[in-house]
């Protein structure tokens, strides 16, 4: 799967949870999921679980902690996909 495909799928997942869809238009690797996209912190768990389903990967609690930005998510997913 190409980086672009991963990116598009990540954005599709985030779109379900963001309260600031405008921020999705200018999204970059440094976009903070909680602060910029206004995803509810309690929903961050659901975002990670959706990543697991969409990319057919398994994410540990500790790895989930490292996801603050869109770039963190991309990095984690790419590492899991191999």
């Amino acid at each position: 799967m190409s980086q672009q495909q991963i990116f598009e799928k990540v954005i599709a997942v985030l779109k379900r949870y963001t309260k600031n869809e405008d921020a999705l238009n200018g999204v970059s690797a440094s976009t903070n999921i909680l602060e910029d996209l206004k995803v509810n912190s309690a929903r961050l768990v659901d975002v990670i679980l959706d990543f697991e389903d969409v990319f057919n990967i398994e994410i540990a609690d500790e790895d989930a902690d490292s996801v603050n930005t869109v770039g963190d998510a991309l990095q984690l997913i790419e590492a899991r996909i191999g």
């Binding site: 909680l34 509810n40 912190s41 768990v45 679980l49 398994e58 994410i59 609690d61 500790e62 603050n68």
Partner: protein, 267 residues
């Protein structure tokens, strides 16, 4: 006490293969110091808070003797980590249920059994005075949705404490219920994660509700009488990673929902 908390691998579950990460020495030392301070000031703070709840606010419990007898008997009968998971209706659920489970003076002599708490920092530790107060009542403030590394460190501290025989209290709903019923919408999955990090953890599910708690509120009404029910749970999951933590949290919330249903059926 400091040495007791600073020891790395000699807790009761160390032989069972604790999977939690090693806590940095600074954190272990800080926990040891806090435990010692709590113990030293306990005769004043604990008995004081008990008197305030009993006489200033006039709080009471249904079947108090029975609740306390069951709590002490269960703690004596079983060793190993104990996590208290309660429903969440008011700002002061934590001291009320702690007092309901045992007289406050009892905790002066059984300091480790007074549960550690994780209050929301913006509510309870926003200024120096409240920071001191929560420190003296065994709190490790946490910022909801805050820096994940900081949240992780707090969870690691709690796992460390659980593995050393300290009781920890958490609210799996993640915030006070806006509906006054057990609310899963903001569930805090750190509860499940903590259970996984301290193998053999038994969860004491607590359902606490005042007779007049009919709507969302900051505090219970003065003179309130509380219903406090307990139920032990040993959650287990086949699921791995984050999904396992979510599964365990779900099991705990399901038990709390069952206890709530029982409460309303008997009402």
């Amino acid at each position: 006490m400091i040495a007791e908390l600073a020891v790395e691998t000699t807790g009761p579950s160390a032989s069972a293969g604790v999977t939690s990460r090693r806590l940095p020495w600074r954190s272990r030392l800080a926990l040891g110091v806090q435990s010692l301070v709590v113990r030293l000031v306990g005769p004043i703070t604990l008995i004081g808070i008990g008197l305030v709840m009993r006489f200033l606010y006039g709080f009471k419990f249904h079947d108090l003797r029975d609740i306390r007898h069951r709590f002490k008997t269960e703690l004596k009968a079983n060793s190993g980590p104990v996590l208290i998971a309660a429903n969440h209706l008011t700002f002061v659920d934590s001291p009320i249920l702690t007092w309901g489970l045992a007289p406050t003076w009892w905790y002066v002599f059984h300091s480790a059994k007074m549960p550690w708490n994780t209050p929301e920092r913006s509510n309870f530790a926003a200024n120096p005075f409240t920071r001191v107060v929560v420190y003296l009542f065994k709190c490790l403030p946490i910022t909801r949705g805050g820096d994940r590394k900081v949240v992780t460190l707090v969870l690691d501290k709690l796992a460390h404490l659980l593995n050393r025989g300290h009781l920890v209290l958490m609210f799996p709903e993640g915030r006070r219920s806006r509906t006054t019923r057990v609310d899963r919408t903001q569930a805090a999955h750190g509860v499940g994660r903590l259970v996984k990090a301290a193998p053999g953890t038994r969860v004491l599910c607590v359902y606490l509700r005042g007779d007049h708690q009919d709507e969302y509120s900051l505090l219970p009404v003065k003179g309130e009488t509380f219903h406090l029910a307990t139920s032990w749970l040993e959650p287990a999951t086949e699921k791995k990673g984050l999904r396992g933590s979510v599964d365990i949290t779900d099991q705990i919330l399901t038990r709390l929902e069952e206890m709530e249903e029982e409460y309303f059926n008997l009402r």
